[in-house]
Structure formats: C-alpha cells, structure tokens
C-alpha cells in the first residue's frame, strides 16, 4: 500500500512536474513564436509564409526537446526555410540583422566579419536539421485560403451595410494569425481552424446570420460539431491569456 501510495504519489509528482515543465515549455514556445511573428513583420513577410514558419517550429518541437536544441536558432532557420517553401525568399543577411536587433535593441548593425559568417552558417546548418527532423515534409495546408473563401460566402449572406460596419474579416484574420503562437495550428485541420476563427469573430460582434435547415458552419464544414468548435475556441482564447503571463 505504502509503495503503491508512494508510486502513485511519485507518479502524481512526476505528472505534476511534467505539467509544470509543459507549462514552462509552452511559455517558451509562446515567446519564440512571438519572436517569429515579430521578425516576420519586420521582414515584410506575408501571412502564409509566416504561418509556415510557425508551423515548422511547432512540428519540429513536437518531436524534439527544448533542452537539446536552441529554440531561437530553430526559429530563425524556420523563417528562412518558410521563405523558400512559400516563394517569398528572404536573405540571411536581413534575417540576421533583424534578429540581432531584436536581442540587442538600438544596436548598430553587425559588421561583415567572421562572427557574421558563422551566424549565417549556423542558420543554414539548422535548416538542414529541421528538414531532416520533419522528414522533408515541409508543405503545409494553411487555413488562410479556406477562411477567405468562407468570408466571401458569409459576406453574401449579410446586408452590405452591416458588413462594412463590422470588421469581421480583419478580426477573423487577426485571430488566425494569433493562433500561431501555440501548437493549436498543427493539431487541427485547417478548415476547422478557419471556421473557428470566423465563428469567434462573428460571435464577438454579435452578428446574426440567417438560419436555414442547417447552420452556416454546418454547411461550410460538414464534419464539425459544435463541441469541437468550442474546444478550439477555448484553446485560442487561452493563448491570449498566456500573453499576459509570458510578456
């Protein structure tokens, strides 16, 4: 009994430790993803390449450990690789410049010396590492195109004045972009994510859509249930809470 208790206690402890680690890890991931998105904006990346970079990062660390690999280096390489995959090529020089300034605000740009070339080499090496870790499967299907199609269809349902009054499109896209701070982006189908973002946006503004035999979201995505939408929504909202904790 005592051993059982002790083992269950130790299991609980371990579980507790693990969840504490998980929490710490997810905070770390949040910070790194914030770094990725921040850098992406400064590099002028479009939404889809930025999403690819975050997705690459999350998938990498699904199977790798934070203790072994430096997350910021992985993030920089993920940005570089995502630029190549999504046809918005970025120069390593720009990536290094922006990242250096992120960590050393208001500093002078780096000199083109040995240290610079070493940094560049490490990015390129890490890129190859990411490719191998992900089995070279680096093309993702992102929710963006689905979300935009759904937006068009929903727009036709609404009165045009109501549409122009409420920033539904911007909000839905913002929610989608913010969802990349967490691993929710790689754990659900892109259609579901798109749908949930739109659902969240509509609910935020209290927009009423006409009702038929089916709800609009049932039409758009046949295999989703209300419960699933709710789950994803809560995960998305948790990310906003985490911002307060992490930054």
């Amino acid at each position: 009994m005592s051993t059982q208790a002790s083992t269950s206690g130790s299991v609980n402890e371990a579980r507790g430790r693990r969840s504490a680690e998980d929490v710490e890890d997810s905070k770390k991931h949040f910070r790194v993803c914030r770094f990725i998105i921040d850098t992406g904006v400064k590099l002028g990346m479009r939404s889809v390449p930025m999403a690819t970079a975050c997705a690459l990062y999350h998938r990498f660390f699904q199977s790798a450990s934070l203790q072994v690999y430096e997350p910021y280096l992985v993030a920089m390489s993920a940005i570089y690789l995502a630029g190549k995959v999504e046809e918005q090529h970025l120069r390593t020089r720009d990536i290094i410049n922006v990242c250096h300034r992120y960590f050393h605000p208001e500093s002078e740009p780096l000199e083109l010396d040995g240290k610079f070339w070493e940094l560049r080499d490490s990015i390129v090496q890490c890129e190859l590492l990411i490719l191998r870790q992900l089995n070279f499967q680096v093309s993702f299907e992102h929710p963006h195109k689905y979300l935009l199609q759904y937006l068009l269809s929903v727009r036709s349902l609404l009165n045009r004045h109501a549409w122009s009054r409420t920033p539904i499109a911007e909000t839905a896209l913002a929610v989608l972009k913010d969802s990349y701070h967490g691993s929710v982006c790689v754990r659900h189908k892109p259609q579901h994510l798109a749908l949930t973002s739109l659902y969240l946006a509509l609910q935020t503004y209290g927009v009423q859509l006409p009702r038929g035999e089916l709800e609009w979201w049932q039409v758009v995505c046949a295999d989703i249930t209300k419960a699933q939408i709710e789950t994803i929504m809560s995960e998305l909202l948790q990310l906003y809470d985490m911002e307060a904790k992490c930054t």
């Binding site: 914030r34 269809s153 758009v220």
Partner: protein, 662 residues
C-alpha cells in the same frame, strides 16, 4: 468523327465548341450522327472555371433557408444599382415584366424559386435604332440583364432599368439588355449543378480549381480589403504602434551597406595616399557596388579622377555626391578646384564662353574660392579684348566690302539666286542661331588673323567673303541641312594627294575642278560652292559647339562630316575651315577635332587619309601653318568653276592692288 473523342472534347470545352462544330461541320454526315449525342453530353457537363478563387453558389442554398426568410432578406438587402437577371414574362405597352432568376452584381442570393417579379417601365428601355417601338425588340422568354432602379421594400416592388446610368460607376462596364445563356453568372450555373447532384459546399470548394491557385490568398485579401504584410492582430504586443521603423529589415540593411561602403572607401583612400591608384579605384568601385550613391565613395573617386586627369568624370562624380548631400564640404571644395582647372584647360583651347560658365559655377558654389574669381576676371578681360577686336574688324570689313568691284556683287547675286532656288527644299534646322555664332566665331578668327602675317590676308578676305555670305544667308533664313548635300552630290570625285603639292599650277586645279563639276549637274555648280561654304562653316560651328557645349561627344561632328559624300566638297569644306581658321587656337582646335572626327567617319582612300593626316600635322605644328594655308588655298581653287574662278582671281588681284596701294 470518333464519337467518344468528340464527346470528351465537347464536354471539356463546352457550348462554344459545340456551336463552332455545328457551324463548320453541319454538312459533315459523320458529325450529324454524333451531334445528337453531343448535345446531351453538353447538358450534363459543368463548365470548368479558371478563376482566381473558387466561385461558390450562395450559401443560402446550402443552408436551405426557408422561402419566406429568403424573400424577406432579399427585399431587405437589395439596393439601387444592383444588377439582376431575369426572364421576360410579359410585354405590355407601358413596360416589361420580368421574373428574376438571379443576381449578377452587388448581391449574391438564391432567388430563382422566389418568383420575384419586377417591372421595367417604358421610359427605362433604350430605343434600339431601327425599331420605332423599343418594346418590339423584346420577346417573352428573353433573358434580360437590368439594373435595379427603385425599390419599394414595403410593397415588395422592384423597378428596373436598362440604362447603364442606373448602375454605380464601378459597374458601368456591365452590358444591360438581352443576354444569352453563356452570360449567366457562374454562381447561378453552379446552383443548377448542385441542385442535380447535391454536392456539398465542401466538395464543391475542394473540386474547384480556384482553391488550388497559390495566389488566391493574396487575391482574396485584396478583394476583402485587408493588407497582407500589415495583417491585424489582437495580441497586445503585436500592435503596429510597437514596431519601430528602424527595426525593419530594409532600414537596417541600408545602414549596414553604408558602413560597409565606408570601410571600403577608407581602404581605398589608404591606397590613394600611397599612390596605388588602381587598387584605390577598385576599392571605390566596390564601395559603390555595395552602396550606390554613397557620398564618401563618390567624392573619393572624383578626387582620384581629378588627380589622374579625367576632369569630366571627376566633375560628374562630385555633382552626384552634391546631389545626394548638398552640404558636403569636401565635395564642394574639390568641385570648385576641378571646375577651375577644367576652365583653364578650356581657355587654352579657346573655349572661352564655356570656361566662363565653369568659373561662374565655381564661384556660385563657393564664393570664397580665390582662384575661381581671379581666373574669371582674367577670362572676362580676354573675352572683352577679343570682342573689341572683332568690332574693329567688322567695321573695317564693312568699309572694304563697299568698295569691292561689281564682279563680287555679281557673284553675290548668283549665289542669292541659288539660295532662293534651294529654299523650298531645305529643311529648317536649329542651325540658324548657331550659324550666327559660327559666323561671329569665324569673324573673330578672321579679325584676330588680321594682326598676324600678311600672307594670309589673301585667304582671309576670301574667308570673310565666305563668312559674309554665310551671315547673309543666315539672315535670310536659309537653313541648310547636311542632307541636302547628299541629294545634290551623288558620286564621290576622284581625288589624289597631289593637291598638297604647293607648286600645283592653277590650270591643273581648274581642269580638275571642271572635271569634278562635270560630274554633277551644271546648275548645281554654284549650289555646290554654297554648300561647300555653308558646310564648312557648319562644320566649324559643329566643331566649336561640340567642343564647347558637349565636351565628350564627338559624334555630332563625326556625323556631320560623315555625310560628306563628295570628297571634293568635303575637302573644300575642310580647306575652307583651314582658310577661315587662323592662328587663333580656338578655331584651330575645332578644326583639329572636326578633322579627327571626319577622319574617323569618312570612308576615304588611304592616300587621302594620308593627305589629311599630313594636313593635320601641318596644322598642328604652328610653323607649318603657312604651308598648310597655302596648300589649302591652292586646293580651294581646284573646286571652283571656271567662271567663278575668274571672279575670284579678279577679286584677289584687286585686293592685291589695294594692298600695294596701301
């Protein structure tokens, strides 16, 4: 006609192909057999759409919103200026009644089964030309596209119009009126499809090509009005106000490039100081590659050019540097110095006006620069002197010309007639003003020459004659183009270098001149002389201009001289130049340049070129000038026709007598 293959291609391409086949192949018995099958295939196929994004039928339809609600929503949301498509169901004398099929712009709704009726009154139907009654053009069952003109939401009445003025500006390209089935909007076509095959929204979306378009995200973002690089975010830390301009990649890159370029420039300056000019230039060029328009690099390179002697390149670099940074002290200083140095060079070449311009600019740039002010003063004195001399000369010339014998006047009259004849064929160029300057320059040269050796007075008179004629011609607005010469002088004359021989007898020259004259038309003889004189002065002007105004562009002069087909004329022209130019280095230099360019451009025999070079060398060596002058005078005689030659010799004799009298 293979049935299956036809069916495959018709179902792919749709009704267009069907129509074409029907038109072209109606006689073909094979086709008739399969035609029936094909029309069936057509009805079943769905037109493949290549759109930037997937075009979906209205969501209402999938949602199966009930009849009442759809009707209500339609009447709530339809606005003036929307485009609708309907079928005419009755034609009355006050208008058309239409049952709406679908919406075509503005709204996207499923309204076919709502049986919404609208009226298009008579006054909103445009007349269709031949028909007196516009309504007779329309028949029951026609598909009509119309714009919504008025809505009565309470009574659920719609008024339509077929005038495009009823549409908003962004839709005014839409054609209103009778349409065919092809013009039906895509989402309506899809409606029919889904009704048959009960496809879900999802399946339809997945199957559409537009979804696989890699650029559909960008396109749709644009359509919805959201920027892609500045997408909004709800996170507090990602709001746009937190991003500083300096942190962006382009800003950092620019700063980095500037500092890298400066490093290269420093290394280059080190090379420059140790007199390793080639390495220094390499470093500067490298710096400019990294960062174009880098001010320091441009200034350093300009200094290097100035030291090596390429003053024009140096000036260009300094100017560019000053454009980018107008307050750069070194750039200004170096530019002043280079301008003054360049002005000095030009002064030696007698390009006094240009030199003056440069000095003035240098002073404007930096009015504390002593060297510029002094040089400018010296130059202005010199110009003044030359102007005074010119005036004296002009006065003397005026006196002399009044006392010339009638033979000279005869010549002038002849020449005037020629000029008038040719006036119609001449194209006006902008050379009238420059011909004035050239005449002044030639006057200048002729005036200064008067002070010098008496031997040349003989030729100078002739040159002043020539310049007088040219002035007259200029004043009578006779603008010559070199192209005229091409018309008049078809074949190049045979030439030899024998004219260089100073002891050539005049008779030989005359005979040669006659020979060359026979080759051309008789009446053009005098014209040739005109042309020769004009062209020579034009060459002089071109030479002067090109040197003065565009110091790096010999092409103009080269082109001008290129067009001298007749060698005799060109030689005459060149000799004219020789004779009219005197010890004044200004014109001499222009001669040299124009001769150089004429050398480059002309396709002449070697002997002639050798002759030219000999002539040039004679020119360049000042102690050979006399020889050159004499030979030029001799060769000039060669080209003059016998009657004119007599006149000239008379004039020469007369002037000699005058000289003796003095």
């Amino acid at each position: 006609m293979e049935r299956d293959l036809l069916r495959q291609s018709v179902s792919y391409h749709g009704e267009n192909l069907m129509l074409l086949l029907k038109c072209e192949q109606s006689e073909n018995p094979d086709f008739k057999r399969v035609a029936a099958d094909l029309s069936k295939t057509l009805n079943q196929s769905v037109r493949i759409v290549s759109e930037a994004h997937a075009v979906m039928p209205p969501l209402e339809q999938f949602m199966e919103v009930c009849f009442e609600e759809r009707r209500e929503l339609f009447y709530r949301d339809v606005e003036r200026g929307d485009v609708v498509i309907g079928r005419i169901n009755s034609v009355r004398d006050f208008g058309l009644f239409i049952t709406l099929l679908c919406t075509a712009g503005g709204l996207e709704r499923d309204i076919e089964d709502l049986e919404i009726k609208a009226l298009c009154p008579l006054r909103c139907v445009p007349s269709t030309g031949n028909h007196d009654d516009p309504l007779s053009y329309y028949q029951i069952g026609d598909l009509l596209r119309a714009g919504v003109k008025g809505i009565d939401r309470y009574h659920e009445k719609l008024t339509l119009s077929l005038y495009s003025s009823s549409l908003p500006p962004h839709l005014d390209k839409v054609k209103l009126g009778v349409i065919s089935k092809e013009d039906l909007p895509l989402h309506y076509t899809y409606v029919n499809v889904t009704a048959d095959s009960s496809q879900t929204y999802e399946k339809l979306l997945e199957s559409s090509l537009g979804l696989s378009n890699p650029l559909n995200v960008d396109y749709l973002l644009g359509k919805l009005g959201v920027s892609d690089t500045q997408t909004p975010s709800l996170m507090r830390g990602l709001q746009s106000k937190h991003f500083k301009e300096d942190d962006f990649a382009t800003a950092i890159r620019k700063k980095q490039s500037v500092s890298w370029a400066l490093k290269c420039v420093k290394v280059g300056v080190g090379h420059f100081k140790s007199r390793r000019y080639v390495e220094a230039m390499n470093e500067y060029n490298k710096a400019l590659e990294i960062d174009t328009n880098n001010v320091e690099a441009l200034v350093a390179r300009g200094a290097l050019y100035a030291t090596k002697g390429s003053l024009m390149k140096a000036i260009d670099d300094f100017e560019l540097a000053l454009e980018n940074c107008p307050t750069h002290r070194n750039a200004k200083k170096y530019l002043c110095q280079t301008l003054v140095e360049r002005g000095g060079q030009l002064e030696e070449e007698e390009k006094l006006v240009t030199a003056e311009g440069l000095y003035k600019r240098a002073i404007v740039l930096d009015n504390t620069f002593q060297g510029a002010a002094e040089a400018l003063e010296k130059l202005q004195l010199r110009i003044q002197k030359s102007l005074e001399l010119k005036e004296q000369e002009a006065a003397k010339e005026q006196e002399k010309t009044k006392t010339v014998e009638t033979s000279a006047e005869k010549l002038r009259k002849i020449l005037k007639e020629e000029k008038r004849m040719k006036k119609k064929r001449k194209r006006s160029t902008s050379s009238s003003t420059s011909s004035d300057t050239s005449s002044t320059s030639s006057d200048d040269s002729s005036s200064t020459s008067r002070k010098k050796s008496k031997k040349r007075k003989h030729k100078r008179r002739r040159s002043s004659h020539g310049s007088k004629k040219h002035k007259r011609r200029a004043s009578s607005c006779s603008d010559k183009t070199v192209d005229d010469d091409i018309e008049w002088f078809p074949a190049p004359a045979n030439t030899s270098a024998s004219y260089i021989d100073q002891k050539q007898s005049i008779s030989k020259l005359i005979s040669e001149g006659e020979q060359s004259w026979e080759k051309s038309r008789c009446e053009d003889g005098r014209g040739r002389l005109d042309d020769a004189i004009d062209r020579s002065l034009e060459n002089l002007k071109h030479g002067a201009q090109s040197e003065a105004s565009r110091p790096g562009r010999p092409d103009v002069n080269g082109e001008v001289t290129d067009q001298h087909r007749t060698q005799s004329i060109s030689e005459c022209a060149r000799n004219r130049r020789d004779s009219s130019s005197t010890q004044s280095e200004y014109s001499q230099k222009s001669d040299r340049y124009s001769k150089e360019f004429s050398l480059q451009g002309r396709k002449r025999s070697e002997s002639e070129r050798g002759g030219n070079e000999k002539m040039d060398k004679g020119e360049r060596n000042s102690h050979d000038q006399d020889d050159g002058r004499k030979s030029s005078g001799g060769s000039l005689k060669k080209d003059i026709p016998s009657n004119l030659l007599d006149i000239f010799s008379q004039i020469a004799e007369f002037e000699k007598e005058k000289k003796l009298q003095k």
